[in-house]
Symmetry: C2
Subunit: 260 residues, 2 copies
Amino acid sequence: MNTLIVKIGGNIIDDPCALTGFLKDFSKLAGAKILVHGGGKLATDILEKLQIPVKMHEGRRITDAETLKVCTMVYAGWINKSVVAQLQALGCNAIGLSGADGNVLRAHRRLPEPVDFGFVGDISADAVDVSFLTALFEQGLCPVFCAVTHDERGTLLNTNADTVASTLAIALSKAGFTKQIICFEKDGVLSDINNPQSVIDEITEENYALLKEEGAITEGMIPKLDQAFAAIRAGVGEVHIKHARNLLSGKGTVVRKTRD
Amino acid sequence: MNTLIVKIGGNIIDDPCALTGFLKDFSKLAGAKILVHGGGKLATDILEKLQIPVKMHEGRRITDAETLKVCTMVYAGWINKSVVAQLQALGCNAIGLSGADGNVLRAHRRLPEPVDFGFVGDISADAVDVSFLTALFEQGLCPVFCAVTHDERGTLLNTNADTVASTLAIALSKAGFTKQIICFEKDGVLSDINNPQSVIDEITEENYALLKEEGAITEGMIPKLDQAFAAIRAGVGEVHIKHARNLLSGKGTVVRKTRD
């Protein structure tokens, strides 16, 4: 079975018009597909209003018990169910999932050394129940994942949405061709950060090193591309990096093993 | 397929020890089963902390847009996913659902006349996708429902948890024998409100009228029993009314059509 895994981030979640437009496009995609969504600003807003201090370490949130509660409420509750309801209205038979539902995505709490990030989960590719997902696809269902997982001992864990998308894509690649689409705020990987038109169409293992050497790839993009290549090496067919508004168009950067 | 539908209310949700004990017992029940949970005090606490005024009409909450957001966060997010994660830890393959997920439970917004309750959904028995539930049972999954539904037009709706449980039980009764268990704060229907030991073991259509005439059934219990008999008349095999701590014991009141 061929599968498409699309990940959207907070910039789309926080913009109701952009989200509606994206979901319209997403609902038109044929075949087995999964949507993974990030969080957006709502959790931070609610944490502030509830006067729960937002603790960060090097730009990453520390998830204490109260923060986990709010993140689960916002990600698995309001965002996930609103997206599912909107997709249903568009004729896409969506089903919202956390990693705990059907035990589909198992994780373990990150070790507290050197930094204790609290209730944060790390997952591995063999932690995905592929047969459960395949059964959903066979029923014509479209899983919509929030980035909340569990440790199989009753504890929910806040997880990185990019990692969730990438883990699902890798696991599903054992069962067929898997294409992953990562939506972000630019049209693709740019060769000139100051020129939004300078989208690099294709990046392969061959030209990646060269592009980095030339300084054509900015530092901020390197972790994203490294993760994309890690997914490709683990079996994912293609990773597309593009703007959510271009979901149905060819515009964007395709990352693949070798030249097409 | 025989199915068991168990409903727990806010009194159990609000008591972590009672909830853990209940979930242990629930996980031991064999066969196809569904858990429906109510809300508890967390939504009200958060509404208060966020300074969203709680509007009521004759003891029933009016759900405006902000209230719907908080209710969805709390019911479909934190409570639903915590319950699912706890059941998973107990070896019960739970999957959390709102009515929007898989379009399993369709509703319509209640008419604004004579009182506008806001984003409140009314459902009917033919709005349940029984084949979706049957497919989940066949995969060994246990659906865990929060009382949030949708109108198929993209709007989520706050719904009465007793109605959700009763609607599911009636719909599933077309596919086999259905037993519904309603957990509440007493051991069963009492013949003497001041004597917690005075549990009526069995209420049938025959003795219900008589019990009411004798004044043996208090007014507060009449809507609950009327709803139970409505479910029985619509096909449900038995409705048990009992305390959550007695889930695995025979203690409680059984409502059925005729004497066993």
